[in-house]
């Protein structure tokens, strides 16, 4: 089994195609690794063991029947918990959606299903994708698989940690201000944020609608290109979806950057950038230069204005997008209230965490009477200027190269104490969303503490192929590194981190479990692990180990959620 887990998605897909590995075998390998690593990493909010194994059998049959022939058929995947999955809990890592079971599946996930994907479960994230550390989740903190004292980044921290810890073969994330690229960088994996409009947003629970994009997270560029090829589609259900006929991204997997013009914004290398990160980025640039690319530094300008503009726009959109969570149609309704408006207020105040509240408040304020022009329109004008600056840069360069984050993964608990400081960490990723550009993170080394460093490659709109080509060429110069936990777990031993980390997890889970114990039935004696990390297991076909306080009983997630819903009344 151990060699299966080390495969990339495309490698595994090939082995499944050639009947060297069975689909169920692959799913079991991943589920086994989930059990081994979750006590430490806590990358998942929901694990659907029974569903995954059942699905594996169906997919195997369809592969055997010659109906599924794509490169990803049968490969197990993890989905960020802000994408709707029919019949499977979708929480956005928020208490307000603690029991929400969608009745339809997000278009991107459907595209994966059509290609034969086996969904393992839903990954943890910052609540409603608001955060850069995955610490704002209502269901516990995800740990960096490279060092569980550190955050995995965010908001797609669960997806990135799951890929890094071999708890899946690839994952989907979403990126509103860097939420794929920054945690990919922190976890030493590869992730792409496509051009806005490339992947349908239908079924993605919106944070900042004009900025959100779904993208792939995997072990290498080849995987990401193959996954993006599958999930990219023109969707008539999403008005901002863009018809493209250039989505054959794997055609750009060529180790050839001769003559490619690469620009490094000086603004990205200045004050605030960690020395080790800077050195790794410049070393990566040199490798591309050695391979024939023309690399030079230039002034991008306006970089520092992207963050304030982003927080105005994203918060404004979020304040409106999240108003639908009100205790009427789905999700949490406060138990005690007096009248309608109090019901709204109680439900939302109980249901949302501090970071979400902070952004809803800010967003409501900047849109309120008398401030719209000064803040919201000003931010949209700034966005136009930032787009123009990129347009100008891409007249000269095919790819913009830089860091994904000013530093490697911070320690747990360090970032949330100062929100503004946390926001500043998004400085290299945020403008890409404002301008709708594609961006990619590729691992490019580690710092002296052993934490991964990510190289960010940014392309012009619709020019994913440029960054895929550059990323692929760079990747050829090094081998994929996986964290210690992937090896320890494979031996079946409890790995080195478990003990020392348990206290932290347990302490943290109290907070997350506080409301769950009184709202969700079931005892906590028969848990997957000793600690209540807050992950849920939906069903269990092999052996019934899954039944934590919030682990669901056998059967489908829908009925389980119904029972929890009833109990909550």
């Amino acid at each position: 089994m151990s060699d299966i887990l080390e495969m990339t998605a495309v490698q595994l897909g090939g082995k499944i195609k050639s009947r060297e590995v069975g689909v169920a075998e692959a799913a079991r390998a991943a589920l086994g690794q989930i059990r081994a690593a979750e006590p430490v990493v806590h990358a998942y909010v929901t694990v659907d063991e029974a569903g995954a194994l059942k699905r594996a059998e169906e997919v195997q049959k369809r592969i055997d029947a010659g109906e599924l022939t794509g490169p990803l058929a049968g490969v197990p995947v993890a989905i960020k918990d802000n994408m709707c999955t029919e019949g499977m809990l979708t929480t956005c890592s928020s208490k307000i959606l603690y029991n929400f079971v969608p009745t339809y599946t997000a278009e991107a996930v459907r595209n994966l299903e059509k290609a034969g994907a086996v969904i393992l479960g839903k990954t943890n994230m910052d609540e409603f994708a608001m955060g850069s550390t995955t610490e704002t989740s209502a269901f516990g903190v995800t740990k960096n698989p490279w060092n569980p004292d550190h955050v995995p980044g965010g908001s797609s921290g669960g997806s990135c940690a799951a890929v890094a810890a071999n708890e899946c073969f690839y994952a989907l994330g979403s990126d509103t201000g860097g939420s794929i690229r920054q945690p990919s960088s922190f976890c030493g994996v590869t992730g792409i944020k496509p051009t806005y409009g490339t992947v349908s947003r239908y079924g993605l629970i919106a944070y900042g609608s004009s900025l959100d994009q779904i993208g792939p997270i995997a072990k290498d560029v080849t995987d990401c290109a193959a996954i993006l090829e599958v999930i990219a589609s023109y969707d008539r259900k999403d008005s901002t979806s863009i018809p493209r006929d250039d989505c054959n991204f794997t055609s750009a997997l060529q180790d050839d950057v001769k003559g490619m013009r690469i620009g490094i914004p000086r603004d990205y290398l200045g004050e605030g950038l960690d020395g080790e990160v800077k050195a790794a980025i410049l070393a990566a640039a040199r490798i591309l230069e050695e391979k024939g690319a023309v690399v030079e530094e230039f002034d991008l300008s306006l970089v520092e204005y992207a963050i304030p503009a982003y927080y105005v726009i994203a918060s404004a959109e979020a304040s409106s997008n999240l108003s639908r969570f009100d205790g009427v149609k789905y999700g949490l309704r406060a138990k005690e209230y007096e009248g309608l408006h109090n019901m709204y207020k109680r439900s939302r105040s109980e249901g949302f965490g501090p970071e979400v509240k902070r952004r809803i408040m800010l967003g409501s304020f900047v849109l309120s009477s008398g401030y719209y022009d000064a803040y919201y329109l000003k931010a949209l004008r700034t966005k136009a200027l930032i787009k123009k600056a990129f347009d100008k840069a891409f007249e000269k360069y095919d790819v913009i190269l830089g860091p994904a984050s000013p530093s490697t993964a911070p320690k747990l608990g360090e970032s949330l104490s100062d929100p503004l400081k946390m926001y500043l960490g998004d400085i290299y990723t945020i403008s890409v969303n404002l301008a709708g550009l594609p961006g990619m993170t590729v691992p490019c080394g580690k710092d002296s503490r052993g934490l991964p460093i990510g190289l960010q490659l940014i392309g012009d709109c619709f020019k994913e192929k440029n960054i895929i080509r550059a990323g692929y060429a760079f990747e050829r110069s090094r081998t994929y590194e996986s964290p210690e936990i992937t090896r320890n777990a494979q031996t079946g031993e409890n790995n080195m981190y478990t003990k020392e980390n348990l206290t932290y997890v347990a302490g943290d889970s109290k907070q997350a479990a506080g409301y769950k114990t009184d709202s969700i039935p079931g005892d906590s004696t028969d848990r997957i692990t000793d600690d209540a990390v807050g992950s849920r297991t939906v069903g269990n076909a092999e052996s019934r180990t899954g039944s934590t306080a919030d682990i669901m009983s056998e059967g489908n997630a829908g009925s389980a959620a119904e029972s929890t819903g009833k109990e909550a009344r």
């Binding site: 709707c84 947003r201 108003s323 009427v328 408006h341 709204y344 919201y376």
Partner: protein, 479 residues
């Protein structure tokens, strides 16, 4: 009251468009389904759902805009209006604030005081809300999203009206235009046309407007007229007492004939409009606009003139017939089948209108097929039935869309013109009424009418009245 006051009124008219589907999803707009049976993730605000604009909504909005002399914003956008209420599943309504599709139009109204232009400030597209039903049993409310997302246009007038008469005339005018365009059936009672009244008063001659209130929940022209009168009085009384009118939204209770403020602490009335990032702008090319213009149907004014010219109808007839698009449609379809426009007009104006009045219905409620009316007219023309019988048959057509030929055959109502049969009937009547014969001979002309009537009665109304007259006269002369 020593001062003279002037009432200043502007209207916000919401019209539900006659599309088959909702504005942003493929759910049916049909009336009367069980609660929440015409819903989907989009119109119930499910997480992750996204709106996609129904093209027909834009077409209708353009048609109404052109027919009301509006300018068209060839680049228009949708904005979100943010407020919390359970009938609004996303807690924002998708509407148009910054760039509405139509602006600066006008319509001309006619009242006893003459003709007048009423300005239209703008027309914008938006989505309707769901329905809240109060459950007395449990003292809670129940939300039905079947109407959520039904397309609306909101027509915002300038504050150009000064009386309830003008308001009604304006609404009638809009209703006719929109019905003629086929953009809506505009039924106030069913809520497919709704008017909110913005009203203020000021001293005659004052240059500034007074503080206005907005009156909601007006379900009929009568309610609108009463609400205007009530609010005018309320505001004048406040001013006379030296108090101020507060700018607020009020809800009219037509049973109590009074209104109350709808304000609450939780309603900040700060809607935080911003462009909806989920929808793209609508760009209306000159070609598109011209195509809509080319497709515009004949509107009332043109039809009114044509009916007088083409069918030689009196203006009075033409006004009544064109007063409802549906009525005009029935008229034209019937004339196309049987000709005789004046005859068709008479049936519609006299008999149909009488029955509508009896049943308290509108011309829009007429549901018979022109074929049957045409047949009836043909039967009268061919003397298959007499006029009296024809009226009875028409009632059947009106009520059940009965086929007059079948009905007459089934009921044996065909006119009896057979000389022998009629003569026998008259003879019997004369024999039975010697006094009347005597009266006639003594010069009482009325007695003859009585005998004719008795004969018609004996023949169950089916006799050819002209022949009966002739025979009675003959026999009386012989007697």
């Amino acid at each position: 009251m020593t001062k003279q006051y002037e009432t200043v009124i502007g209207l916000e008219v919401h019209v539900e468009l006659a599309t088959k589907t909702k504005i942003f999803c493929g759910c049916s707009t049909a009336f009367g389904g069980a609660p929440n049976t015409h819903t989907c993730p989009v119109c119930t605000g499910m997480p992750g759902s996204l709106p996609v604009l129904n093209k027909q909504v834009v077409e209708y909005a353009l048609a109404v805009g052109l027919a009301t002399n509006c300018g068209i914003n060839q680049y228009c956008k949708f904005d979100r209006k943010n407020y919390f209420y359970p009938d609004n599943p996303q807690n924002y309504q998708i509407s148009q604030l910054y760039l509405p599709i139509c602006h600066d139009g006008w319509v001309e109204i006619e009242t006893a005081a003459g003709t007048k232009k009423i300005g239209i400030h703008e027309i914008h597209m938006e989505e309707d809300a769901g329905k809240l039903i109060h459950d007395e049993w449990e003292d809670c409310s129940l939300v039905d999203y079947n109407r959520s997302g039904v397309p609306l246009i909101e027509i915002v007038s300038e504050p150009d009206m000064r009386s309830a008469d003008e308001v009604i005339a304006y609404l009638e005018k809009l209703r006719l235009i929109i019905q003629y365009l086929g953009a809506s059936d505009c039924k106030l009672q069913e809520g497919s046309m709704r008017a909110d009244v913005n009203l203020s008063v000021r001293e005659v001659g004052a240059s500034q407007f007074g503080t206005r209130t907005e009156m909601k929940n007006l379900n009929s022209f009568k309610a609108i007229a009463r609400a205007i009168e009530g609010e005018r009085k309320r505001q004048i009384e406040l001013l006379e007492e030296g108090k101020k009118v507060i700018q607020e939204t009020r809800r009219w209770d037509d049973n109590k004939e009074s209104s109350h403020a709808m304000r609450s602490k939780e309603d900040a009335q700060d809607y935080r409009y911003f462009p909806d990032p989920d929808l793209t702008p609508v760009v209306i090319s000159n070609e598109w606009l011209q195509a809509v213009r080319d497709r515009q149907p004949e509107l009332r004014t043109e039809k009114l003139a044509r009916y007088q010219a083409e069918f030689q109808l009196p203006r009075y007839d033409a006004e009544i017939l064109t007063g409802s698009k549906h009525l005009a449609d029935i008229f034209e379809a019937t004339v196309a089948l049987c000709g005789r426009p004046k005859e068709v007009s008479n049936w519609l104006m006299v008999e149909a209108m009488r029955l509508l009045k009896e049943k308290e219905q509108d011309p829009e409620d007429l549901s018979f097929s022109p074929e049957n009316l045409a047949k009836l007219i043909g039967m009268v023309e061919k003397n298959t039935i007499n006029r009296t019988v024809a009226k009875t048959v028409f009632e059947e057509i009106f009520a059940n869309d009965a086929d007059p030929e079948k009905y007459v055959a089934e009921k044996g109502l065909a006119m009896v013109s057979d000389e022998g049969a009629l003569r026998r009937a008259v003879e019997e009547v004369i024999a039975a009424n010697p006094q009347s014969v005597e009266d006639y001979k003594n010069g009482k002309q009325k007695a003859m009418g009585f005998l004719v009537g008795q004969t018609m009665r004996a023949m169950k109304g089916k006799a050819d009245p002209a022949k009966v007259n002739q025979i009675v006269r003959e026999l009386l002369a012989e007697a």
